[in-house]
Symmetry: C2
Subunit: 572 residues, 2 copies
């Protein structure tokens, strides 16, 4: 490719829309342009990178017997009603009507479509396992699209769906995908850590996210440095520590005090001069419409995902003021467990508090010296708090560390959630109608590219891993007006092309500084500079983008050096 013809408008200034490094560099290097919030056009260089990542994914999916298909983006509402998710997806789903008024959505994911696709045609266990995947745009109307490809509203995803005869073979599909994912990210030059995660709106019970640790990551990942345990913070398990004999002593007498206007933990602890950890937060929720109380320590946050999962309810929301008044006889902010007649679920940490401060179920009052059993009972103890760095590891005696992470992929065991709801069955070995056992497996293609940049850049621009660089080599004659340089550059360009090497010749009539800056910004792994002086001495210069190391070599050594380097496939 000739640089003079390549449509790759580089920018010296960072557009104000960009906050994180990958976003800034993808705009500056002319890889993409924004068209609307969370929607981007890929320019030629950006699309080449995307296609390379897609090809790596494709090869690894084919290697585990995945078969590529392409399903519609527009999906009829009826299918989502069958699975019950038409309502669940809420505002994140782009919805539209056709000219007949029929409802559709733009697929945020494809469980419904793929289940409908196979349900009438997979009839026998002999057709299983079946693993179908596609690489395609997905749509999610994010509340706050940002960070370029990290959180877009239209984005490219690889999604695979597996269909198995039972949970044992689902296990094989799941781990095949898990290991394929490790290989995919490795081949893209990324270290991605599988962590236990929550399955969210997709459903199912076992799931791993593949996380790339990066400061710009939107997720908090917790991992134990002593063992292998790693989990997304929203999923990380809390530990139940047994109450030691004598741990809680000297129960003081109950006392109710006026705390006018102080309703939050911070206000109360300041007002009463107590530590937040000695307070109990009492939250009133409506679980499928019925009020319940949830207790966590004053300095902890309640994790609604855990509460919802524990209660096995469909809808969970904080109760409205009216319900709270009905249940506690007080304004919102003064609820406490003493005397409550609704079910009361407490986080494990509550077991350890003595003489706690709680809401008095009376406007502007709190109760002091509240103690479990003596003053209130709990329906059940469970893991309800948001796990934090510093918390104990649920697997060993280690302590959890925290790091920010970018989720680049996720694998799910779905089980029979969709096949049950949508009657997708097959005849098993005994001729019995049995629901298909499903898994699903996603990779954000654009987000993977962005994560690669977050981990591979310097002050001058992107440093592409060889495997997904838009081109491997750029040839830069210092001056195209010098005939010797121009003709040496042209020869090298042609020789590299003949070797099947992806090369750009910067044939622009620009100052060398401009050309070098663009080469560094775009991030070609290898630059060959051709200057008048070195050319006279029969030499050219290779500059390795990652190390910025320079090597003057005889002209005839340039191609073999590059070939060797590419053959060894180093992630320079």
């Amino acid at each position: 490719m000739l640089m003079s013809q390549l449509y790759s408008p580089t920018l010296r200034e960072t557009p104000s829309e960009a906050e994180i490094i990958s976003h800034k560099l993808m705009l500056r290097a002319g890889l993409m342009r924004r068209s609307a919030a969370g929607m981007y056009a890929f320019l030629p260089l950006g699309l080449r990178v995307i296609r390379k990542v897609e090809q790596i994914i494709r090869e690894e999916m084919n290697a585990i017997d995945g078969q590529e298909v392409l399903m519609p983006i527009i999906q009829p509402a009826e299918l989502w009603e069958e699975s019950g998710r038409w309502k669940d997806y809420g505002d994140e789903m782009f919805r539209l009507k056709d000219r007949q008024g029929r409802q559709f959505c733009l697929g945020p994911t494809h469980e419904e479509i793929v289940t409908a696709l196979v349900r009438s045609e997979v009839r026998s266990y002999r057709q299983l396992p079946l693993r179908l995947y596609q690489i395609q745009n997905k749509y999610r109307d994010e509340r706050r699209p940002r960070f370029g490809l990290m959180r877009g509203r239209e984005f490219i995803m690889k999604d695979m769906y597996s269909f198995d005869r039972d949970h044992e073979t689902l296990d094989q599909s799941y781990w095949a995908a898990y290991h394929a994912y490790k290989r995919i990210f490795e081949r893209c030059g990324l270290e991605a850590h599988p962590v236990e995660a929550d399955s969210g709106a997709i459903g199912g019970d076992v799931t791993h996210e593949f996380m790339v640790l990066a400061e710009s990551g939107e997720d908090l990942v917790l991992f134990c440095e002593a063992c292998e345990y790693a989990a997304n913070a929203e999923r990380a398990e809390g530990v139940r520590v047994p109450v030691q004999e004598g741990e809680k002593t000297a129960f003081e007498p109950l006392e109710t005090v006026a705390t006018p206007g102080a309703s939050t933990i911070d206000q109360i602890s300041a007002f009463l001069g107590v530590e937040p950890k000695d307070c109990i937060k009492t939250l009133i929720y409506l679980a499928d419409g019925k009020p319940i109380a949830a207790l966590v320590r004053g300095d902890h946050e309640l994790n609604e995902i855990k509460l919802k999962k524990f209660l096995q309810c469909v809808e969970l929301e904080l109760a409205d003021d009216e319900t709270i008044f009905k249940v506690t006889k007080a304004r919102t902010g003064f609820a406490g467990p003493v005397g409550l007649s609704i079910p009361c679920y407490a986080d494990y940490a509550i077991e350890h508090i003595a003489n706690a401060v709680v809401g008095a179920n009376k406007d502007d009052h709190h109760t002091l010296n509240v103690n479990l059993d003596r003053d209130f009972q709990v329906t059940a103890f469970t893991d309800l708090k948001e796990t934090q760095p510093g918390d104990p590891c649920p697997r060993c005696s280690g302590t959890l560390q925290g790091a920010r992470g970018v989720e680049v992929g996720q694998v799910f065991k779905l089980g029979t959630k969709y096949s049950d709801a949508m009657s997708a069955t097959f005849l098993n070995e005994d001729g019995k109608e049995t629901p298909l056992v499903m898994g699903c497996y996603g990779i954000g293609v654009g987000r993977t590219v962005a994560a690669v940049i977050e981990k591979n850049y310097d002050e001058d621009g992107i440093i592409w891993p060889l495997s997904i660089a838009p081109y491997q080599v750029v040839v830069v004659p210092v001056s195209m007006k010098d005939e010797a340089q121009a003709s040496a550059a042209q020869s090298l360009y042609e020789e590299l092309q003949a070797e099947g090497i992806e090369v750009v010749l910067d044939d622009r009539d620009e100052r060398p500084g401009v050309k070098f800056k663009d080469a560094d910004l775009i991030g070609f792994p290898i630059r060959v500079t051709i200057g008048a002086k070195s050319l006279e001495q029969g030499q050219m210069e290779i500059i390795w983008r990652r190390t910025k190391e320079k090597q003057s070599l005889p002209i005839e050594a340039i191609v073999p050096t590059i070939k060797n380097f590419l053959r060894d496939g180093d992630q320079i």
Copy 2:
């Protein structure tokens, strides 16, 4: 690929939804499945064909310096308001709102997006010509989606956009694309005829459609057998034949007669016992809100596209009853040119009619013996009729023939329609701000595949051209239970794979008849059958799908024969 693992559910029966052969065979051969009206999921074999067509297109677009990009499918309404097409597109456009209530559409085409993409970054004539293309889903909410991939609502299209400095270089871009299109269709094994066409909602003045002649085609193509002229019927030019001296004689006196209840040409000609060709149809239109009359011969149809283009109006619609009454003082159905005070445009054929029958501008009356000049005047004569087979060729003295055609591609000279509306300018050689001169070029990928099938099938199924066959070879052992057959089949399969040949091994435990039927239905160009008897004689049988010719060959000759055949690249 092993047939036992391939997800390719073939059907013995034709689904009732399918009307034309390509649609039937794509469903029966397990290439795709319907998900909603005009929306399809491609299964593995179907997607392989699609990808091959895409790759041919990609190579030919790259060969004419096209650069591949990928633009968003969701497009903001504001861009379409800039070009003025937000309203024009009407019900065919899928529209939606995001959670903030902003309006978007699903791109039916990408002129607006691509113009917005380059307008801020193409600044100099030095950056031109620029040719950007993408291969991507397009969306049109067809009133009547049908015929499978022929008229879908979600469909894959290649669209290229060219930007040039002037009309001369646009000409180069246009003809480069035109010739690339010819090569693309040829490589897909299709004879596609470029015909002059109308540019419709896309705009611009020069455009060719690439038509594959097939009975199932939705378009009527007219072509001259004497010369090269070919055009879509809606575009085909009418010819003005000079009126010969003495052609019209014996003008009879005007006479107005009662024609109660007879208002259509058929009714009038029956009632009065005259030929439709001796009647004049007078149609009252509103052109940008102003009434005009349009005259065509009674046996001709008016072509609104031609009328609209001649009047250069934005909106053209048949006038309502009220307007007609105001203009003619009569009910709808009795308009005539005599005494009309609005502009009156007549088709060329009107010049030749003597003693015509016309509406009398009086309820239930017509006027006889109406003659041009004596009884009415015409504002202008022009080409207004729908051209038909049998009409004279506008280029030579030949006669036009008609044929049904499937439009597989179209190329347009847009000129500055979008760059003017959207202020997309560059600085020319003289430093003067100048609008970019644009062209656009589309190919329906799925429709091309369907057209290939329309032209390549027999009673047993599809007959793929080699270039886009999902796999080139299928190896069919008569019985997989016979160890000798199974092992010979496996060896051949591996040998063919090692040669880089795309091969399926039908390893299913099915009757040979079932396997042969599937092979024919799917349409693999080459089948190798391995039977017990011939194997004993050291032979296998090649069956060429297109000719059904069978060839028994020594085992060692099978691979070389196939290789030779593939190398020669014949379109068997």
